[in-house]
Amino acid sequence: MYVYDQFDHAVVAARNAEFKDQVARRLAGELSEDQFKPLRLMNGLYLQLHAYMLRIAVPYGVLSSAQMRTFAHIARTYDRDFGHFTTRQNIQFNWIKLADTPQILEDLARVEMHAIQTSGNCIRNTTTDQFAGAAKDEIDDPRPWAELIRQWSTFHPEFTFLPRKFKIAITGATRDRAAIRVHDIGLQLTANGFDVYVGGGMGRTPHLGHLIKSGVPGEKLLSYLEAALRVYNRYGRRDNIYKARIKILVSALGPQEYARQVEEEWASLDQAKIDAPYAEIARIKSFFPEPDYTSKAFDAAALERAKAADPGFARWVRNNTLAHRRYDHVSVTISLKPTGLPPGDASSEQMDVMADVADDYGYAELRVSHEQNVILPHVAKADLYDLYQRLDKTGLSSANVGKITDMIACPGLDYCSLANARSIPLAQDISKRFEDAGYTDKIGDLQIKISGCINACGHHHVGHIGILGVDKQGEEFYQILLGGRADEKAALATITGKGMPAEAVPAAIERVVNLYLELRTDASERFIDTVGRLGREAFAGALHEPA
């Protein structure tokens, strides 16, 4: 877990005091909305369709139980008793009052959190693998590097007004769970340093990132990133918001030329002034020690008996746990995708329960995934059944991780002032259509990702099945895309045909799924692999058949 030093505390306290004064001046009429808007956005406060929305940064998705409890407190005290975990591993509260915001930020500062750089054309929250430090397939822990980038990028004077927002993702495992190829910069941690991918992104012109450098040593990471950002900051387009992201620049120059310019810039930098000294890297690494693992006696036979007696538990263990680097532990994903409810939402009670079970079974640590779930990275196998029963009492035991109902969905037009169409009701309809657990398990791994507009916060470009909401003269239509994936074999989905109304989408998806079940070689061939083997066109027809 990161630890604030005196500088972090001082910087956040000063910023909060400044914003408190700005809010008071706005409420007193001393600041116009035009003057105030950029100030509130720099503190994560948006005005959405119905109310102010506060987006709080969860650094690389890592949360303590005390921080989760603070979210519950905010939901209960200042909002309508729930919060929304986002695809950037952050949390948003949708019903915040302007006058309450300074107090909320003070409450957050007490648990070393803030909402800075959750908006604006700056370097946003660096994201990473939600199983960092726990996964069996991990090469190295990405969290210290994410923390190093957080410290370097926070209030970086040169990168506070970039041509456009900038997102960095890191993975330290062989399996990419951080979607690094669709970030402005994606970092793959290897045994030989960092492989650096540049120019990925979604939005209206999706691109996969290009590998421009292999083996950047960790101790040189910051200067290399600084060089990459400098080239973008210098040549990124500021004249056209739709062409301002780094992906457009890399595409225009070509990855090789971009890489050459970065090398040239890197060589010209005084790297020693930028890169963190070994002692600082070691200090940051010390923030992320191995938990003091409990050595509870693990009775494998007892676990099997519990699974046999409780099929719901057996399914939950099968779908929601991941192999841990320790034989007697697992990582547990708490699904925030119960049937018929908005993906990623949690009530204050649920947040409190997640904090409590983290204290009781998870070494007080939680993670937020970009799939909008919450993770307990380290849970002793001996505690699994107790944990499951605790979660089950509060609607947190949905056993659908990685399955068709474990959808990503942006807030869409139900909340977002940028959206063209609603996402959440469609996600709810799809989850009801596929609520039969046996059917869902038979389908196996399948990722549906829904965005309510072309900005692609719902990652529709990398959904095995992507859904994009569009507006056609006041009516919502949904375009269906097929064949995307955000993992180490990243690919962009393609649009299959004309859009369809919301009520036609669940049946269309079911037709495609049933065709997949007919065509797959066997149950081990996942949907995305069957689409890859047979081609997307083999499925497009089924989507657009009449119901």
Partner: protein, 103 residues
């Protein structure tokens, strides 16, 4: 025919202009919004744009007739008027406040 709408500065909630020249003349219930002819609507918009201590971003919503939104505005304004259309906060919220469905 138009409606005048904005968000309240203090809490961001959606308001609709009913009558009068202070915030009491605005309502959270879109069904009670004044149906304004185009000229009056434009004049009122200018007045309220200048009163930023009370409201944020006032704008006009065009109507086909007294109770029908111009189609291209429909979904967005329906959601603004009724609240999120999802179970957790959704129309239940509107109904709890006796707003019911409008438009």
């Amino acid at each position: 025919m138009k409606l005048l709408t904005a968000n309240r500065l203090t809490d961001g909630l959606v308001l609709w202009y009913r009558d009068g020249d202070d915030l009491n003349g605005w309502t959270e219930n879109a069904a009670d919004a004044a149906r304004l002819d185009d000229e009056a609507a434009t004049a009122l918009l200018d007045v309220w744009k200048a009163r930023e201590t009370l409201l944020v971003a006032p704008y006009l919503v065009p109507l086909v007739d007294d109770n029908t939104l111009v189609k291209r505005e429909y979904v967005r304004e329906f959601v603004r008027a009724n609240g999120p259309t999802i179970g957790q906060t959704a129309l239940d919220t509107a109904k709890l406040q006796n707003r019911g469905e409008v438009f």
